[in-house]
Symmetry: C2
């Protein structure tokens, strides 16, 4: 049985974004059953968890002795088992891999930089001074993505695991209007997230948090 | 014949770091011949280049009609063709893929954030205010890497393409003492870069720039 780790609970700003959702969605698309091992923030630095995940992040993927981390690497692994997520043709699979890395290294670092400014340091002077260029960096990548998607429904000729990942990277900008301001990209995000597997994965992801709501302070 | 793109020339601070070096090194390890298509900064936004690379970055990899971008995705593709870079065993290959994504999404965004502060905005007030936390974020990842590498020569049981990539991500901190301050990580970086294929790739990478030195202003 496939087992993934997820945080027992995350604050509302991270619900719908934390990275177990990526895996849940892919596993639903692939029709692979899985179980979830819930961990707390306090477990991130334990020696046993660091043995599975050297940086203390979620998720970890475990199956028959194989341990993987990095959500995008796990997505790639799951996708190799299901044509629903990636073509069996090596050239098409390589293009999907290209887009997985584009989502993780060309888009997400800029998205996360802005998320950090807006959600973690909104009152810091440096964050206010830094923000315009951080926004410009995000817009530049969204414009590149928009030009590429012009005339395309998905990054390549059909939905793949790279679209799943890209749409969730874009989702992290939900506290802004930046995606809405780029109609081609916004339509693409909605097209990906209209899939039944996303609805199922999101519901399971949120239900876990709802069941572990901390007592009010 | 494999063809990769590289910038005709980059300023000294980027020489030894720009991403064609990653591919040159991997191609040397794999023993695959290649040619280089040099482009200028002005080519990044051309319609024809954007058709190959939607974000205008280097490198692009072309071979028999297949076009790939994202240096780590190209490394993964090259590695699938050579056991010198990645095991043929699916479980070991998946671990290598995990580390490729760790280098690109867990380490490099923090490294690049600090590079940007130090090399692009050293005099900005926001950069000075931001720097301590940016350094702390890098140190946290270096410490995680150090704990993992304790007792290991490489990320997994033997050198793979993930070590190649990780060592070059670490190299981008060369303007600081941060890697030198973590002996396990520094020794690992040097161990990777002692490989003859790295020396050959670096020499070719630098020779191209030397041959295209712009006229003094």
């Amino acid at each position: 049985m496939i087992r993934i780790t997820a945080f027992r609970w995350v604050p509302p700003f991270a619900q719908g974004l934390s990275r177990d959702l990526r895996l849940r969605w892919a596993l639903e698309e692939a029709g692979l059953p899985y179980e979830v091992r819930q961990i707390g923030f306090e477990d991130r630095d334990s020696k046993s968890y660091r043995g599975l995940q050297p940086f203390g992040q979620v998720p970890v993927y475990e199956e028959d002795g194989l341990v993987l981390f990095e959500s995008a690497a796990i997505l790639h692994h799951i996708a190799r088992r299901s044509e629903a997520l990636m073509s069996l043709r090596p050239d098409e699979a390589a293009r999907t891999t290209t887009w997985l890395f584009a989502a993780m290294n060309t888009l997400e670092p800029h998205v996360q930089n802005l998320v950090e400014i807006d959600l973690f340091y909104p009152k810091e002077e440096w964050a206010k001074a830094r923000r315009p260029k951080a926004v410009a960096a995000v817009k530049k990548r969204l414009d590149g993505l928009s030009d590429w998607l012009d005339g395309r429904d998905y990054l390549e000729r059909r939905f793949t695991v790279a679209d799943l990942l890209m749409s969730l990277v874009l989702e992290a900008l939900r506290h802004t209007d930046l995606v809405a301001e780029v109609p081609t990209v916004d339509a693409y995000r909605l097209r990906c997230q209209a899939r039944p597997a996303y609805a199922k994965a999101l519901a399971d992801h949120l239900a876990a948090f709802a069941g572990n709501e901390p007592a009010a302070a």
